[in-house]
């Protein structure tokens, strides 16, 4: 396929380096066009982009650990201490 590539075409190896800029929408219009042109003709880079998207989505759904009950109790105590220092009214 590379034999047919025009000088302006991107190689797969270049495409993988542009993925973040593409996804963050910081590519220049010309680079974006070249990037999308490459994707239309390259199933491997399309699969790569899908893998990157899947990675990002999965990263965004990683749950943090729940707060440990004893830590929560300790913080609540500190909060009560602060509240009495501040002489705030008691909650109903």
């Amino acid at each position: 396929m590379h034999l047919l590539r025009r000088p302006a075409d991107l190689a797969c190896q270049q495409v993988v380096e542009l993925v973040t800029e593409y996804l963050e929408d910081t590519l220049s219009r010309a680079d974006r066009t070249r990037f999308e042109f490459h994707l239309r003709h390259c199933p491997n880079c399309t699969a790569y982009l899908d893998q990157m998207r899947a990675t990002i989505v999965a990263t965004g759904t990683l749950r943090a650990e729940d707060v440990a009950p004893d830590m929560l109790a300790e913080l609540t105590e500190l909060f009560r201490g602060w509240r009495s220092e501040e002489e705030l009214p008691d909650q109903p």
Partner: protein
């Protein structure tokens, strides 16, 4: 499309539902809760702690040598937050304000902050051995099979991802955690970490690429 090209399978499946588990613990917005905390409402404080404590521990862990020190930094931060609530002006989100206090305290506690480390040498997103001399993929890319109903697949993903995240270099991990895990906007990440937009994007790119690559090998290993 050229007929000689081997078609790669395209990932079309949704991520496992267990990976996309519920993260919303309370419908109250941060500003509502803050107003109530200012008035001394303990339940509102507990809700805020519940909402952010785990995230804070994960962020703090980037800067300190142990879980115990991270817990101290987080606890310290909560007290700073409660005492300093009047100084929160709402110019950034509460979360960004919270993380700013936390990162400052964790950096002080950990002393060895990763900020001074240089970006380092160029690190390719994908190992050069995967490409031909002309820069095309040498082998078709394997698609990731995800099955929305398979609990085992979901657990494999989550486990593999946590492992991969732990293996990232510290500077990449802090950007990936703040931007992709915690969902802070780029400009907040830059301001919290004191890096330029460009450097932030480089770190994000390297971190994400490395995560993908680690996931690729983890998933193929576990799939066997």
């Amino acid at each position: 499309m050229s007929p000689t090209m081997a078609p790669a399978r395209v990932v079309t499946g949704a991520l496992p539902t267990a990976v996309l588990g519920p993260t919303l613990r309370s419908v109250d917005s941060d500003p509502d809760l803050l107003a109530r905390v200012r008035a001394g409402d303990e339940a509102a404080f507990v809700t805020l702690v519940d909402r952010y404590h785990g995230s804070m521990l994960r962020v703090a862990r980037n800067y300190v040598p142990s879980q115990a020190v991270a817990e101290e930094a987080v606890q310290d931060t909560w007290m700073g937050v409660v005492r300093g609530l009047d100084r929160f002006e709402g110019r950034s989100s509460f979360k960004t304000w919270l993380f700013r206090i936390l990162i400052n305290r964790a950096r002080t506690a950990g002393e060895g902050e990763p900020r001074s480390q240089p970006l380092g040498d160029v690190e390719p997103a994908v190992d050069a051995s995967r490409f031909t001399a002309s820069g095309a993929w040498a082998e078709p890319l394997e698609a990731w099979v995800t099955n929305a109903d398979d609990r085992l697949v979901a657990d494999t993903w989550t486990d593999a991802l946590r492992t991969a995240l732990d293996r990232l270099p510290p500077r990449q991990r802090e950007v990936v955690v703040l931007h992709d895990v915690e969902g802070l906007p780029s400009e907040d990440v830059c301001s919290l970490l004191g890096v330029s937009e460009g450097n932030q994007r480089v770190l994000l790119h390297r971190g994400r690429s490395r995560l993908r690559s680690l996931l690729e090998s983890e998933l193929s290993e576990r799939g066997r």
